[in-house]
Amino acid sequence: MKNKYIIILVLTTLLASCTKNFEDFNTDKKRPADVTGEALFSNAIKNLADQLTTPNVNLNIFNLWAQYWTETTYTDEANYDIVNRTIADNTYRAFYRDILEDLQKASVLIALEEATVINTQAAIDNKLRVIDMIQAYCYQILVDVFGDVPYTEALDIENISPVYDDAATIYSNLITRVKADVSGMTVDDGTNLGSADFIYDGDAEAWVKFGNTLLVKLGITLSDVNPSLAQTTVEDAYAGAFESGEDNANFPYLGSSPNTNQIYAELVLTGRNDFVGANTLVDMMNGLSDPRLPSYFTTIDGEYIGGDYGESSPYSQYSHVADHIKDPTFPGFLLTYDQLLFYLAEGAARGWSVGGSASELYTDAITASFDLWNAGSAENYISSAGVAWDAANWKSLIGVQSWIAFYVRGLEGYTQWRRFDVPTFNIAPSIETESDIPVRFTYPINEQTLNKTNRQNAADAIGGDELTTHIFWDVN
C-alpha cells in the first residue's frame, strides 16, 4: 500500500507546482508590450507616405486613373478592374489598420504622458493636435475615394460592425476638428515630437500652416456642393497656410530599403516595366509645349510619346517615368504649396477673398509647380496659348493646370479631374462612354462579407455601390 501513497504524493506535487510558470509561458518575449506614442506616430506617417507614393497595382492605382500613366502588358487596373487584386480592401487596410489605428493608439498613449518641465502639458496637447490633423487628412482621402465610410464608429475593436457615416457630415466634422486643432496649437511650446516627426521635426508652427492648408483643401473640395461652408473655411484659413515651397509637407525618404520612396521600390527594385506615360497627359503637355515634360518623362527617339490609355503599350515604344522620380530619396508629397495656390486661385475665381486675384494666384500656382519640378522659368509658359489666364474659362484652365501639376500624386490629380471634368479623359477599352469612367472605388469585398448590413446601408445612401456613383461633392 505504501506505493499508492508515493503515487498520490507525486501526483499532488505535480498538481501544485506545474502551473507556476504558465502565465510566463504565454507572454511574448520577442515583441514589446509597451511602446511610446511617438514610435506609433512615426510608423503611421511613414505608412501614409508609402501608401500615397506607391504605384503598386495592389495598393494605389491613381496614377493610372488620373491617366498620368498607363500599363504596358497587364492593363487590368488601367481598365478599372479593382476586384481581381482586391484594391479597395487593401486601401481600407492601409488607411484604417496601418495608419489611423496607429495614430489612434498614439493619441491614447500620448494623452497618458505625464507633463514635465521639458514635455509640458501644452506640448503634449500639441502632439495630440498634430495627430488629429493627420487623421483628418486620412479621412478626407477615404471619403474622396469611397464616399460614405465608417467614421464615428471606426477604430473601435469592441464594435466589429461599424456604421458608415454620411460623407458630407464627415467633411463638416473634419473641418471643425482641424479648425480646433489649428486654433488650439500653442506654437511657442513646440510639439516635442522632434525627430519622430519626419515632416516638420516637431515644429509646431509648421503644423499650424499644414492645418490651415488642409482646411483650404477640405473647403475647396466642397465648393460645388456647400459653397458657403467652402468659402468661410477657405477664407478663414488661407492666411495661415503655406507661404512657400519651403513649407511643403514632404516625406524625406532615405537611400536604402525599406525606407525608400515606394516609386523606387516598385519601378526600380522589382525590375518590372509595367508603366509608361499615358497619351492623355503626354499629348496634353506636348500640345502646350510644357517645359515640365523632361521632369516628368523620358523620351523615345527625342520625343515624348504616351501609350494609348488602357491599351497594351510595349514598354520600348513609349515614354517612361523620368529617372529623378525613380530616385530612392525622391520625396513623398503630402501637401504642397503649388497645390494650395491652385485651390486659392479657384477660390478667387469663385469670388472669394483669399488674398489675391484669381489670375495672380493662378500664375503663382504654375510657378510654384515649376519650382517643385525644377523646370526653370514658368513665365513664357504662363503667357502661352492654352495656358494664359482667361477669367471666362477659369474652370478649364485651373482644372487642366492643376491636373498637370499634381503629377505622381495620382489621387489629387484624379480628384481635380472629377471636380472639373477636364481634360477629356480617354475611354479605356473595358468601358464604352465617358460616363462609364469610374469616379470612385466600390467598397471592399471584406465589407460585403464582414460588415454586410452597414455596407448595404451605405451603398443605398450614396445611390448604389458602383464605380460610377459620384462622391457627394462631385455634382457638376
Partner: protein
C-alpha cells in the same frame, strides 16, 4: 548501396545457429476444420529456424526435425498454429479460418491494447505491410484510400506537405490536422510554410514534419476517429489521432537475431493528363498590335540599320495570343540577340517550338534501403533499424535524402519491473524543392504565362553552355534583362532552396507489475528537432518575393531556423480485477505533463546581395532588416482516469474523464474538464446462428476541450525597421482577447459491426455527429475597426457523417484467396453560427490571387469558395451579355461558387493471392468538392490551351480578325438584358474573352472529383522449399506502382489533389505540380 552489400555478405558468412537434437521425420495431413477437405500450400516451418516445407495437393507434408522442436503451420486466411512435436512422427492438423474482429487486439489511446470487440467507438487499423509494399516518401500519403473517413490530400510537391483530416473540419481557423502519436509519444506535425506560401503567393512547401517517420519502422497504425476514442489524449486530439506502433524486438526461442533487408527502387514520370496540352497554332504575344500589317502579332524593328524593318518576336510578352505560325516567315527570336547563342543574329522560321515544357521534367528516381536487426530472449528484446531514402524529383536539380536510425529495447530488471527505451534519430535534407503559388514559380509560367514558340531544351542549352540567365523573356530585343520570367534552368540551378532537419524522438518507460491486479507505468518522452531552411536568389534574376516582409528583390538570401522540443511525462496506475466470473474491471488513473518550446528566427539580406554567389547574411547589400523572431512556450497539465467494465464478455462499458490546465488560456479559464462514455454490446454471443460469426452494437458520447493558440491572450506591438534612427512600431494586426474560453467538441457516435458466413462477409458501420462550440478563432473583422482580426470564441461547427467498411472474400479455395476491402465515408459539415452575428469568415490568411476567397459561412459547409459570378437573366436563367459583347459580372465577390469539402470519399482494395503470388490493387475515390483554377483563369487568357483555338460559327479560326476579311471572333453564349439572344461579335484574337479579364471566377471553378488507381503491387514470396537449405528465412520480390492512372477526373490539365500546402486554405490551384506516376521493384529478404 555498397554498405549494404558488405553487411549482407557478413551476415551470410556468420551463419545462424540452429537447434541441435535428435532428428526425426514427421509426416501428416492438414485439413480444413470446416469442410474436412485437404489444404494444399500450407507452410510448415520448424519454429525458430528457416527449415520448412509446404503441403502438397492432398494436404500431405513430410519434414525432418529435432524431436523437441515445434512446428508452425500457416496459410492465408487461416489461424496460424504452433504445435510441439514431442517426439511424434505423425501430426495431423485441423486448420481453422480466422474470424476477424473476435480476436483482434487494437491499440487505443495512450497505447493501451484492447480487444477490438470491447470498444464502444470506431478504431480502424492499417497494417504496416499495407504501407510498406508500395513506398511513398511520406508514409501519410500511403494511408490514402485505406481508411474510411480519413481524408488525405497530398500536394504533389517534392517532399511536400499532406493534409490529413479525419471526419471533416472542426476548427474554423486553427489546425484541423490529425494528431500523430508514435508509441505513445505525440509528435510534432508542424508545417513551417508561411502565410504567403499557404495563400499561394510564392514560396516553397517544406512539408510537414510527421513525414520524418520511417514507414519501415511501422508495425501498425490505429486510427482513432471520434472524440470517445481520443478523449484521453486531451486538447490536441479533437481532430482524431493517428497512432503508430513501431516494430519491436521479439523473443524467438532458438534464434538470437533476425535480420531483414529491404530494398526498393522506383522511377517516377509525370502523368501527362495532369499537365497542360498546348495549342499548336499561335506564338508569342497578347494580340495583333505590335508591328505593321499584315504581321501585327510581331514587332517590326530595323535591328540591323539596313533601312528595312525586320520581324521580331515580342519576346517581352508571356502569352501565346500572337501571330499565327507560318514556316515561311523568317523572324528574329529572343535567341537571335544573345551573342552566345548558336542562332545569334539569325532569323528563323516562325513555328511552334519542338520541345514544349513537358520536356522540362526528368525521371524521378527513388531508392529506399533498409536493414532491420531484431532479437531477444526471456529477459530482453531489441530492434535496430536503419533506413536510407534517396530521391530525386521530376524537376531538375531536386533531391531529398533521409536517414532514419531507430533503436528500441526492453529489459526485465527484476521480476515485474521492466524498463524499455526507444530512440529514433532522423536526418533529412532536401535541395531544390519546387516553388509553389502564383509568383516566381516556373510552373505558373508553364501553366499561365508562356510563349509556345520557345523551345525549353534551347533554354537548357543556353544555360548549360553559359551559366547565365539567358531568358526567353527579354525586356526587349536590345535589352537582355529578363522582364517577368528567368530562364527556367537558371531558376532550378541558381535560385534553389535547401533545407535540413535533425530530429530525435524517444522515450524511456518503466513498467511495474505490483500485484496481479495493480500495475504502474511511467514514461518520459521527447520529440525535438532543429530545422534550417535557406532560400537563394542569384544576382541577375527577375525580382521576386524573398526574405523578411517578403519584398520583391532581384537577389538575396534568407534563412529560417527553428528549434522545437516537446516533452511529455506520463504516469499511470492500472487496475485489472475480476469480480467473480461475470465481471471484470479495468481502470487507470494518470497524469500527463506536456511542455513545448518553439524558438525560431527568420532573417534575410536586404536590397540584394553585394557579391554574387555568396549566400550569407553578411553579404547583404543594405543593412539587414530586423529578423522575425518567435519564442513560444506551451504547458498543459492533464489528469485523467478511466474505468472499463466487462460483463460476461457480452457488454462492455467504458467511462473516461480528463482535466486539462492549458497555459495558452487566460488564468481564469485555463482549467477545463471533459468526460466520455462508451458501450459495446456483443449480441452475437446471444444468438446461436451459424451464419452470424460476429455482431456488435456500440454507442458513445464524448467531449474534448481545447486550449488557444499560443499568444492569443495579451496584446503586443509589432516593431519595424527604424527610420533614420527612430523606432517604428505598429499596433498588431490581430486583437488578442483576455476572456477566451476553451473550445469544446461534443461528439456522439453509434456503430454496428457484423460478420457473416465464417467472416467471409463483414461490415462495420459508423454514424456520428460532432459539434464544436466556442471555436477559438482570429475572426476577420472590418479593417475599419483598425485591425484585420480579433480572437474570439466564435461560433459552432457541425460534422455529421456515416462511414462504412466492408470486407468480402468472394473466393477462398485451396491456394487461392480473393479479398475485397471497401471503405466509404460521407461527412456533412456545416458552419452553424459565428460570433456576434457574423455571417462569414475568410479562412485564407491573405488574399488569394484572382479575387476568390475560402470562407466559413453560416449555413454552408466549412471552406466555401466565394467569388464573382455571371449575372443571370431572370426569365431565361441564362447569363447576361453586355452591349459590348462580354458577360455582365456580379459587382460583388461573395457568391458561393463551391466548397472544399468532398461529398464522399472511398477506397477499394482488391487482393488476390495464389500460392506465393499476391496481387493488390487500391482504387481511391473522391466525389465532389471544388477547385478554383488560377492556372485556367490566366492560362486561357494567355492563349496557351487548345480551348482557345477553334473554328467559329462562321467556319473560320476564332483568332482571325473580327472583320470581313478575317471572319474571326465569336459570339458569347448568353442573352441581353431583355432576355433576347446575344448577337454581338467580339474579338477572338486577344486575351480578353477567354480568361480572367472579362469573365467571372465561377467560369474557372471545377469539380474536384477523381478516381485513381492509387497502388498496384505484385508480390512473389519465394517458396519455403527453395529457401530451406539457405540461411534465408523468407524472401519476397514485388513489382510496385503508385498513382499509375487517374481513371477519372473533371479538372483539366492538373491533378485535383494538387495544391500549395497542408492547412485550411484548399480548393485553389496555381502553378501546381503535375502528378508523378511511380513504378519500381521492391525486394525483401529475412534471415
Amino acid at each position: 548501396m555498397k554498405k549494404f552489400t558488405i553487411l549482407f555478405v557478413c551476415l551470410l558468412l556468420m551463419g545462424f545457429s540452429s537447434l541441435l537434437g535428435q532428428e526425426i521425420q514427421v509426416t501428416g495431413t492438414v485439413t480444413d476444420k470446416t469442410d474436412g477437405g485437404p489444404l494444399p500450400g500450407v507452410s510448415v516451418v520448424v519454429k525458430g529456424t528457416v527449415t520448412g516445407t509446404a503441403t502438397d495437393v492432398s494436404g500431405k507434408y513430410s519434414i525432418t526435425v529435432p524431436s523437441d522442436a515445434s512446428l508452425i503451420f500457416s496459410s492465408i486466411g487461416m489461424k496460424t498454429q504452433d504445435i510441439p512435436v514431442n517426439g511424434r512422427t505423425e501430426i495431423n492438423v485441423l486448420m481453422e479460418q480466422e474470424i476477424g474482429e473476435l480476436d483482434e487486439v487494437v491499440v487505443t489511446a495512450l497505447g493501451v491494447s484492447r480487444a477490438k470487440k470491447s470498444l464502444g467507438y470506431s478504431v480502424q487499423e492499417v497494417d504496416g505491410d499495407q504501407l510498406n509494399t508500395v513506398k511513398s516518401d511520406n508514409f501519410i500519403n500511403a494511408l490514402s484510400g485505406k481508411a474510411a473517413g480519413v481524408n488525405i490530400r497530398s500536394t504533389g510537391n517534392l517532399g511536400g506537405s499532406t493534409n490529413v483530416t479525419i471526419r471533416g473540419s472542426r476548427s474554423l481557423y486553427g489546425s484541423n490536422q490529425a494528431l500523430f502519436v508514435i508509441d505513445g509519444v505525440p509528435i510534432n506535425n508542424a508545417n513551417t510554410n508561411n502565410d504567403g506560401q499557404v495563400s499561394g503567393r510564392s514560396g516553397y512547401d517544406f512539408g510537414n514534419s510527421a513525414s520524418d517517420i520511417n514507414p519501415n519502422d511501422i508495425a501498425s497504425i490505429s486510427i482513432l476517429k471520434g472524440a470517445a476514442a481520443t478523449a484521453l489524449y486531451g486538447e490536441r486530439a479533437s481532430n482524431g489521432v493517428i497512432m503508430i506502433t513501431t516494430k519491436k524486438g521479439s523473443v524467438t526461442p532458438g534464434k538470437l537475431i533476425g535480420v531483414t533487408l529491404n530494398s526498393n527502387v522506383t522511377f517516377g514520370t509525370i502523368d501527362k493528363s495532369t499537365f497542360p496540352t498546348y495549342q499548336k497554332k499561335y506564338g508569342a504575344g497578347y494580340g495583333p498590335y505590335y508591328g505593321d500589317a499584315p504581321y501585327t502579332g510581331l514587332e517590326s524593328i530595323d535591328i540591323n540599320d539596313d533601312g528595312v524593318d525586320e520581324l521580331v518576336v515580342p519576346m517581352y510578352e508571356d502569352a501565346s495570343y500572337g501571330q499565327a505560325y507560318d514556316p515561311s516567315l523568317m523572324v528574329y527570336h529572343y535567341d537571335a540577340f544573345y551573342p552566345e547563342s548558336p542562332y545569334y543574329g539569325q532569323a528563323r522560321p516562325w513555328i511552334m517550338a519542338k520541345n514544349d515544357p513537358t520536356t522540362f521534367f526528368e525521371t524521378a528516381v527513388s531508392y529506399t534501403n533498409s536493414i532491420d536487426v531484431s532479437g531477444g530472449n526471456e529477459k530482453s528484446t531489441f530492434r535496430l533499424g536503419y533506413t536510407n531514402l534517396s530521391q530525386t524529383g521530376v524537376m531538375p536539380n531536386s533531391k531529398l535524402d533521409r536517414n532514419n536510425v531507430s533503436l528500441n529495447g526492453s529489459y526485465n530488471l527484476v521480476k515485474n519491473l521492466k524498463v524499455s527505451a526507444s530512440a529514433n534519430y532522423i536526418n533529412e535534407s532536401a535541395k531544390g524543392r519546387n516553388s509553389t503559388g502564383y509568383s516566381d514559380n516556373i510552373l505558373s509560367s508553364f501553366r499561365q504565362w508562356y510563349e509556345l514558340n520557345v523551345d525549353v531544351q534551347e533554354q537548357k542549352d543556353l544555360y548549360d553552355n553559359t551559366g547565365k540567365n539567358m531568358s526567353w523573356n527579354r525586356t526587349a530585343w536590345d535589352d537582355g534583362t529578363p522582364i517577368y520570367w528567368d530562364n527556367p534552368y537558371w531558376v532550378r540551378y541558381e535560385n534553389y532552396e535547401s533545407d535540413g532537419r535533425d530530429r530525435l524522438i524517444g522515450y524511456t518507460q518503466l513498467d511495474w507489475t505490483a500485484t496481479s491486479w495493480l500495475s504502474f507505468m511511467g514514461r518520459f518522452s521527447v520529440d525535438s528537432y532543429n530545422t534550417l531552411q535557406e532560400e537563394r536568389k542569384a544576382v541577375g534574376s527577375v525580382a521576386g518575393e524573398l526574405g523578411v516582409d517578403r519584398p520583391d528583390v532581384t537577389s538575396g538570401y534568407s534563412r529560417f531556423s527553428r528549434v522545437f522540443a516537446e516533452t511529455n511525462l506520463d504516469m499511470m496506475a492500472n487496475i485489472n480485477k475480476s469480480f467473480g466470473e461475470n465481471l471484470t474491471l479495468t481502470a487507470f488513473i494518470g497524469t500527463n505533463i506536456r511542455r513545448t518550446r518553439l524558438d525560431q528566427v527568420f532573417e534575410s539580406t536586404n536590397g540584394g546581395l553585394s557579391v554574387p554567389e555568396v549566400y550569407a547574411l553578411s553579404n547583404s547589400a543594405n543593412p539587414m532588416l530586423p529578423p522575425e523572431e518567435d519564442l513560444q512556450r506551451v504547458g498543459v497539465n492533464g489528469y485523467f482516469g478511466s474505468v472499463s467494465l466487462d460483463f460476461k464478455g457480452l457488454i462492455f462499458l467504458d467511462g473516461t474523464f480528463r482535466r486539462d490546465i492549458s497555459s495558452t488560456l487566460p488564468k481564469d479559464n485555463w482549467g477545463y474538464n471533459y468526460p466520455s462514455i462508451s458501450t459495446s454490446f456483443l449480441f452475437s454471443e446471444l444468438v446461436d446462428a451459424s451464419w452470424l460469426s460476429f455482431g456488435k452494437l456500440r454507442l458513445s458520447y464524448a467531449e474534448v476541450g481545447s486550449g488557444a493558440p499560443w499568444g492569443s491572450v495579451d496584446d503586443t506591438y509589432r516593431p519595424y525597421a527604424p527610420f533614420a534612427g527612430n523606432p517604428l512600431v505598429s499596433v498588431d494586426n490581430t486583437k488578442n482577447n483576455q476572456d477566451l474560453k476553451p473550445e469544446r467538441t461534443k461528439s456522439i457516435e453509434g456503430g454496428l459491426a457484423m460478420n457473416f458466413l465464417k467472416s467471409r462477409v463483414g461490415f462495420d458501420l459508423s454514424l456520428y455527429q460532432t459539434n464544436t462550440v466556442d471555436l477559438i478563432t482570429p475572426v476577420a473583422v472590418s479593417y475599419a475597426t483598425g485591425y484585420s482580426s480579433k480572437y474570439l470564441n466564435a461560433g459552432e461547427m457541425e460534422n455529421k457523417g456515416i462511414e462504412l467498411t466492408l470486407n468480402l472474400t468472394p473466393v477462398r479455395m485451396s491456394g487461392f484467396v480473393w479479398d475485397i476491402s471497401f471503405n466509404w465515408a460521407r461527412n456533412m459539415n456545416k458552419v452553424k453560427s459565428l460570433a456576434l452575428g457574423l455571417e462569414n469568415l475568410r479562412i485564407n490568411p491573405i488574399s488569394l490571387q484572382g479575387g476568390v476567397s475560402v470562407n466559413a459561412r453560416v449555413g454552408e459547409p466549412y471552406g466555401a469558395i466565394q467569388g464573382s459570378d455571371f449575372v443571370y437573366e431572370e426569365t431565361t436563367g441564362r447569363p447576361i451579355v453586355r452591349s459590348n459583347g462580354y458577360y455582365e459580372l456580379t459587382g460583388t465577390s461573395d457568391i458561393v461558387l463551391g466548397t472544399i469539402q468532398p461529398d464522399w470519399t472511398g477506397g477499394i482494395l482488391n487482393t488476390f493471392a495464389y500460392k506465393n503470388i499476391s496481387l493488390r490493387a487500391l482504387i481511391d475515390i473522391q466525389h465532389g468538392g471544388s477547385i478554383f483554377s488560377l492556372d485556367q483563369w490566366y492560362g486561357q487568357g494567355t492563349g496557351l490551351y487548345p480551348e482557345t483555338v477553334f473554328i467559329n460559327d462562321l467556319g473560320n479560326q476564332v483568332r482571325n480578325a473580327n472583320d470581313a476579311d478575317g471572319g474571326g471572333g465569336l459570339i458569347l453564349d448568353g442573352v441581353t438584358e431583355d432576355g433576347t439572344q446575344n448577337t454581338t461579335r467580339i474579338e477572338g484574337n486577344d486575351y480578353r474573352y477567354a480568361g480572367w479579364a472579362r469573365n467571372p471566377n465561377s467560369a474557372f471553378i471545377y469539380d474536384a472529383s477523381y478516381v485513381k488507381l492509387r497502388e498496384l503491387s505484385l508480390t512473389y514470396d519465394l517458396p519455403i522449399k527453395i529457401l530451406s537449405n539457405t540461411p534465408i528465412y523468407g524472401a519476397s520480390l514485388s513489382l510496385v506502382g503508385s498513382n499509375l492512372w487517374i481513371i477519372f477526373k473533371n479538372l483539366p490539365y492538373a491533378d485535383p489533389e494538387a495544391g500549395q500546402s497542408s492547412g485550411n486554405t484548399q480548393g485553389w490551384q496555381s502553378g501546381v505540380m503535375p502528378a508523378t506516376r511511380r513504378y519500381g521493384v521492391s525486394l525483401k529478404v529475412q534471415f
